[in-house]
């Protein structure tokens, strides 16, 4: 007999080693995430996948499922916390959707819509983060970085180039390019790299194709992020 836990009262089967998030999505239940990606080990930094398991808050992406657990995810309490996390991400960077090429394809924006985030709630930081347009094919707009490290991990673990890194601590943490000059043009980064095609927000942008797909016909214009995620999970 397969093992199972309860997610918001619904039985979810799992195999040993599967995380709460993997098992939930495989069973057709949506748990949100930004820094998690199926091709990489869990990172646990965005905390959007937070759930309450056996009364404790845990990251669903990094927590192995356990037999008989009662897990709360889609509840007013947990969704309220997720909304707060999204609001903190939105004020920490410079997220101006009207002027962003990624608008409509951005996972942070799509999660804002999913959880009905209407207000910034907190004071804006307005950090100073200059863009790097040095590379012939790719623009880096650090204003929108959420420190998910997907580009860092993809460049290091798949492309074998280690083009990106996070540096600084706490509120001073920021994304940097591993080159003496700090410029992307002075690395062997290519637009076909996995790292060039993994950013969930609008930091790593391919030049000259920004509006090839018009606003209104983009990924999250056609489906909400929960619909899209569950559809991909079942195919």
């Amino acid at each position: 007999m397969t093992k199972q836990f309860l997610l918001d009262g619904q039985p979810v089967p799992f195999e040993d080693g599967q995380t709460v998030l993997e098992a939930a999505r495989a069973a057709g239940h949506y748990i949100p995430s930004l820094c998690w990606h199926k091709d990489f080990p869990p990172h646990g930094s965005c905390k959007l996948c937070v759930v309450k398991a056996a009364g404790r808050h845990v990251s669903a992406c990094a927590t192995p499922a356990k037999e008989g657990w009662e897990v709360e995810s889609n509840t007013p309490e947990i969704n309220g916390e997720r909304r707060g996390l999204l609001q903190m991400l939105l004020v920490e960077g410079n997220h101006f959707c009207p002027s962003c090429e990624k608008s409509g394809d951005c996972e942070l924006q799509a999660l804002g819509y999913e959880y009905e985030v209407l207000t910034p709630r907190f004071r804006h930081f307005f950090p100073d983060r200059p863009v790097d347009a040095s590379h012939p094919d790719v623009l880096l707009d650090f204003n929108r970085c959420i420190f998910c490290e997907l580009c860092v991990r993809a460049s290091r673990d798949i492309d074998g180039k280690s083009v990106f890194a996070l540096t600084g601590r706490g509120i001073d943490k920021h994304l940097v390019v591993n080159a003496e000059s700090g410029r992307l043009a002075d690395t062997d980064f290519a637009k076909t790299d996995r790292a060039a095609n993994i950013c969930p927000v609008g930091v790593i942008l391919h030049k000259r194709v920004g509006f090839a797909v018009p606003i209104g016909e983009r990924t999250f214009d056609l489906a909400t992020i929960s619909e899209k995620t569950l559809k991909e999970g079942s195919s």
């Binding site: 819509y113 804006h124 307005f126």
Partner: protein, 183 residues
């Protein structure tokens, strides 16, 4: 059983550091304007040309706060309006005008009034009648308490209509089914 109030709801609107795009979008509710004028009347607004805001039920603010006059108008609205709404991206998070926030204000002014190509003997305007610019453009909730936020650049006519009708009918306003947009 309570009856509907006989008097119309009084509504004031203003554009601070905005482009009036949100006001244009408000007009995009098209024929709903006829339904709206049956239940509301306008106080201070670009539509009436009343200069000072009086006691109102609903205040709608477009644009962020970029100078001392914006702060004054916003505080007057808060003082007079029972419900104050931030309308559009600039009011919600500073929007386009806030793109100057990482440039020191003096540098900004010098670039425009002294060093811009074609400007000769330019100087930074210093008339006492001009409101002083703030060092940073701020979303309006950082200056006064705001009751509701409608994001979008601009929010669509249908989004504004849905929000206002929810509010006027006493429902919690919600933007769902594709009405919520940040761009």
């Amino acid at each position: 059983m309570s009856t509907l109030p006989a008097r119309k709801l009084r509504v004031a609107t203003a554009s601070l550091a905005g482009c009036f795009g949100c006001h244009m979008s408000f007009l995009d509710i098209d024929e709903h304007l006829f339904e709206l004028v049956d239940i509301i009347e306008f106080d201070r607004s670009p539509l009436t040309d009343i200069k000072e805001v009086g006691p109102c039920d609903i205040g709608i603010i477009e644009g962020g706060v970029c100078n001392s006059e914006n702060v004054h108008v916003l505080r007057e609205f808060r003082r007079n309006c029972k419900t104050l709404i931030a309308l559009g991206a600039c009011a919600v998070n500073g929007g386009l005008p806030a793109q100057r926030n990482h440039i020191p204000l003096a540098e900004c002014l010098r670039e425009v009034y002294q060093f811009r190509p074609g400007v000769e003997n330019g100087q930074i305007p210093n008339d006492p009648e001009l409101p002083l610019p703030l060092d940073k453009v701020r979303p309006i909730h950082e200056v006064v308490r705001i009751d509701y936020f409608i994001p979008g650049c601009p929010p669509s006519g249908p989004a504004i209509w849905k929000f206002l009708t929810d509010l006027i009918a006493g429902r919690t306003p919600r933007l769902t089914g594709g009405l919520l947009h940040y761009d």
